[in-house]
């Protein structure tokens, strides 16, 4: 039993990200309102983005901008990979965030279309009116 406790203490970040992802997934499946489902989708996305960013984190490293890289005299000192954080997950997730707001916009446009047609945002009422 203490084994599991130390495991959680060492990897508490991963556990909390997975809890956040479970919240998002639950909102997407079980909530009845379409906008709540969209918020759940965004929570799910940010949980996955959080996981990716946490992979790029290194202990005792600084942000991925080269120190002294500005200006005419660019530093020619040796750059060690352990000094800077991993920039690759940051790049991937930066574009993912912008695409997520684009998908949110299209999804909200669809929600407005659904509301104009059925006058409701509740999934069960929409289903009832479709079958009528």
């Amino acid at each position: 039993m203490p084994d599991i406790v130390t495991e959680i203490i060492h990897k508490y970040n991963y556990w909390l990200y997975i809890i956040l992802m479970m919240i998002g997934l639950y909102a997407m499946i079980a909530k009845n309102n379409l906008i709540k489902k969209l918020i759940g989708m965004n929570i799910f996305q940010t949980a996955i983005i959080l996981f990716f960013i946490s992979i790029g984190y290194k202990e005792d490293a600084t942000i991925p901008i080269i120190v002294g890289g500005h200006g005419p005299e660019m530093s020619h000192q040796a750059i060690e990979a352990a000094q800077y954080m991993n920039p690759l997950p940051h790049v991937l997730m930066l574009t993912a965030i912008v695409v997520s707001v684009a998908t949110l916009g299209v999804a909200l446009a669809l929600v407005i279309m659904v509301y104009q047609r059925y006058q409701t945002l509740e999934e069960d009422e929409i289903r009832m009116r479709v079958t009528q």
Binding site: Y14, M22, I65, N86, V99, A102, A109
Partner: protein, 275 residues
């Protein structure tokens, strides 16, 4: 549905939680993600591209092809929003009034006539603006500074945090602030729908045009070092300048897509009244 959803979520979460045992320790510099490709980016990017901000260097140079299609995705989202929501009603002369208790909008052709029972009707759009003088004045002073900051973020993206996506969103947010603090009509007089659509496409054209120019100058697609033939700068900086051009394209596209999304969502495609 709720119970079934809870069970599915618990099963997925349980599987993932058992998988955390195999993850590398938190912040481990020798984890697999940090040992294969990223050391090359960190140690070589400054010499190869001339941009101290590694994120921008990887975004616009090493993964430039990927970012080009991200821009196309954003462009496609703006296009999809217009196609889904926009309704082109004939804008004849006259005014629209909303009946406040019921929410019904009526249209009166003669601009000099007003509906009976003036108190129950609210004039939509037109010159009449229901907003506060303080908010309008503060926003009028604030918007130019926000836009200058957006330009700074785009242009300084090679050296500090920022870049085309962030600068474009900040610029788009300043346009949205204009539409919020004044009204949608004022905003569309400043930036018409046509101008927004053209800017949106222009961003993608700038990006792919820089890529094609590299082909015409004899290199690969998006190989910015070929631009040294047309840009009068030393070869160490030419890749950074190519990245700057690409970022400007991304900024145009993202800025106008944010404005298009806001205008269409806030007026449900009619472009007559915002929030």
């Amino acid at each position: 549905m709720k119970l079934a959803g809870l069970i599915i979520v618990m099963i997925c979460g349980g599987l993932l939680l058992t998988a955390t045992q195999d993850f590398p320790a938190w912040g481990d510099p020798s984890s697999p993600a940090s040992t294969h490709l990223s050391p090359h980016f960190i140690t070589e990017a400054l010499h190869e591209t001339g941009a101290p901000n590694l994120v921008t260097a990887v975004l616009a140079d090493y993964r430039g092809y990927d970012t080009m299609f991200e821009t196309v995705v954003v462009f496609g989202a703006g296009l999809a929003c217009i196609l889904l929501l926009r309704t082109y009603t004939q804008r004849t002369r006259g005014r629209e009034y909303r009946h406040i208790p019921t929410g019904i909008v009526i249209h009166i052709q003669d601009p000099n006539k007003a509906p009976k029972g003036q108190r129950e009707f609210q004039l939509i759009d037109n010159m009449w603006v229901p907003h506060d003088l303080i908010i309008k004045t503060v926003c009028r002073i604030l918007i130019p500074f926000i836009q200058i900051f957006g330009l700074y973020v785009v242009c300084h993206g090679d050296f500090s945090p920022g870049g085309g996506f962030q600068g474009g969103v900040i610029f788009g947010a300043s346009l949205i602030l204009l539409a919020l603090s004044f009204d949608l009509r004022t905003f569309l007089e400043q930036m018409s729908e046509k101008a927004l659509g053209l800017l949106c496409a222009l961003g993608v054209v700038i990006y792919s045009g820089i890529g094609c120019m590299c082909i015409l100058l004899g290199g690969n697609f998006l190989d910015y070092s070929q631009l040294a033939a047309v840009l009068p700068v030393d070869p160490g900086h030419v890749r950074a300048l190519g990245m700057l051009g690409v970022e400007i394209g991304v900024g145009f596209s993202v800025m106008s897509v944010m404005a298009i999304l806001y205008v269409n969502i806030a007026s449900a495609g009619r472009h007559n009244q915002g929030l």
